[in-house]
Symmetry: C2
Subunit: 331 residues, 2 copies
């Protein structure tokens, strides 16, 4: 019989402690030991912070490590558990999916104890960490082939009370964008599973994962704002400056807001995130590469909207998403 | 017996023509047809422009396609052959190396007719296109995990006359940096092979390959300046603006200027390309991820220098290059 996933230390220890979450070995690889930080200061909110869910989104692990440095001094109450890198295999390979089983960790929750390594990671987190907390910050970056503003993203949640709480805390991050994102590929997401367990789930995004100083500064400030909103840390929340602006807006997007590539080719972006576009404005150009006589194709905005995400230059298949438009949230 | 590499059209045709360079099939994949543009305006310099050598550096293919649009009107004399995408397999996979054989196309020149697909591509270019030209512009972007200024790079060339000519044309691009780069991994490079054939080889770089509007504008202006310097296009060369500066500098770097990672972990850049640093200035931070008690490690400048290239946030092995420093060229 396989070893069960386990922690190498007692999370109920008072104050700061560190250890590992052990994901058992399986047919595909040896056991993994994920470093875990815990700061347990008694009564109050309980929070799990995770980074490195996708291995090519590295702002999260770095911000998580920074938190490990300053939280022992700053945390006033409650419990915070941090796993800077929940998918070290993907981080080391700089890939979105786990290289050993090819799976997207963020589509296999709650995982399986007898599954492949991504599923075993999800299982260990779902069984050992998730039940101990009421809120999760999962730190993403959208990935290196996208430009995306610093944002908190949430999917629509059927439970109105949980939806309201989630939006409230999302906006408290004071990032440039809070986005309510309706899409059709949410099965197996960490979010979806956490919602089903009644947890508040905050997914931060910041395209595209290649870690600039500005990105990290904004990201860390946003997470600190979130900790203040939860009451875990004292201080004054501040808007991080993004493109000379100190403000935030709450947007919504759904599958019909996705702009798709009209053909295979190289996508050339022609606008920036948070640009306001009118119907017919140029969003990007698709360059077919298999023929030099085939004209490049303009991809234009179908309607007045805000550019929320846009692919950087990358080869895309036909009908692949190249931009994500959005509108102010109408509640 | 295998089909030989061939062109589907006569490159000696006067004026504009297009067709394909056919790379024969092999044991590993079917034949490839690379779109080729030719503009033959008689006497004058002969130039080959290639993009997509590395599949995750996409400014080159896009700039090459733009040239295909405006060269028929602008080219005054000589011959220009353009292959926007010499490695379509890598472009489609958004990978540096060719996915089928795992090889770096830019390390297998002059290639082999009976080799794997990367070697067959190199062979087709070496045999059918290279002999027809005296100059090559190979459009790179350094790759998505690096930041690198718009630059022309050349390696030291033993032939003094060729070195002098190459530097002169490199500087004529008027990009922010012209870099003489001595490194130890030049065997099999397109450059090295072209030099051995007495050709002038211009390798443009622009980190990191994810195609912003500013990058493309600077890149296209630089290539146009190069065409003007060769006498192929009339007009006035202009410095493209980069970081509010209109100027260029010529730098040199060698293996001892490479900063290496002191341990495995996530590299966090802490300076920008073209920053001037003094001994001890912070270049970046290495975050070990396998232990939260291991301190992050500062990586500092060993001497006064200019930051020429710096990794973006990415997981690195121990002793892997994280920054490339440089100094003004002393000739």
């Amino acid at each position: 019989m396989n070893e069960a996933p386990h922690l190498t230390f007692d999370l109920d220890t008072t104050d700061v402690s560190t250890g590992h979450l052990v994901v058992p070995k399986g047919a595909d690889c040896e056991a993994l030991s994920l470093p875990v930080f815990s700061c347990n200061r008694g009564e109050g909110p309980t929070l799990l912070i995770t980074g490195g869910n996708h291995g090519n989104e590295l702002e999260g692990p770095i911000v998580a490590r920074r938190l490990v440095e300053w939280l022992p001094e700053a945390q006033k109450c409650g419990r915070i558990i941090i796993v800077p890198e929940i998918n070290p295999l993907a981080v080391q390979a700089w890939t979105r999916n786990t290289p050993i089983d090819g799976k997207n960790l963020n589509r296999v929750f709650p995982g399986r104890s007898d599954g492949s390594v991504s599923e075993r990671i999800a299982d260990a987190i779902s069984r050992l960490l998730l039940p101990m907390v009421d809120t999760i910050f999962d730190l993403h970056s959208f990935g290196p082939t996208w430009n995306f503003p610093p944002a908190v993203i949430t999917h629509p949640i059927a439970d109105v009370d949980l939806m309201t709480k989630t939006l409230r805390i999302s906006e408290a991050f004071k990032l440039p964008v809070t986005l309510l994102w309706e899409h059709n590929d949410t099965a197996g997401m960490f979010d979806t599973w956490a919602h089903s367990q009644g947890k508040i789930f905050i997914c931060t995004e910041f395209g595209g994962g290649t870690v600039g100083a500005e990105a990290l500064t904004i990201y860390e400030a946003g997470v600190r704002n979130g900790l203040i909103a939860l009451g875990l840390v004292e201080g004054k929340a501040e808007y991080p400056t993004f493109r000379q602006q100190k403000s935030g807006q709450t947007l919504e997007t759904n599958p019909s807001d996705q702009l798709k590539s009209p053909a295979p080719g190289i996508f050339e972006p022609r606008c920036s995130v948070l640009d306001e576009v009118k119907q017919g404005d140029l969003i990007g150009i698709l360059h077919p590469m298999d023929s030099l006589s085939a004209d490049s194709i303009d991809i234009c905005a179908p309607t007045t909207s805000i550019v929320c995400g846009i692919r950087s230059g990358v080869y895309v298949q036909g009908n692949e998403e190249v931009a994500s438009l959005a509108r102010p949230l109408a509640l």
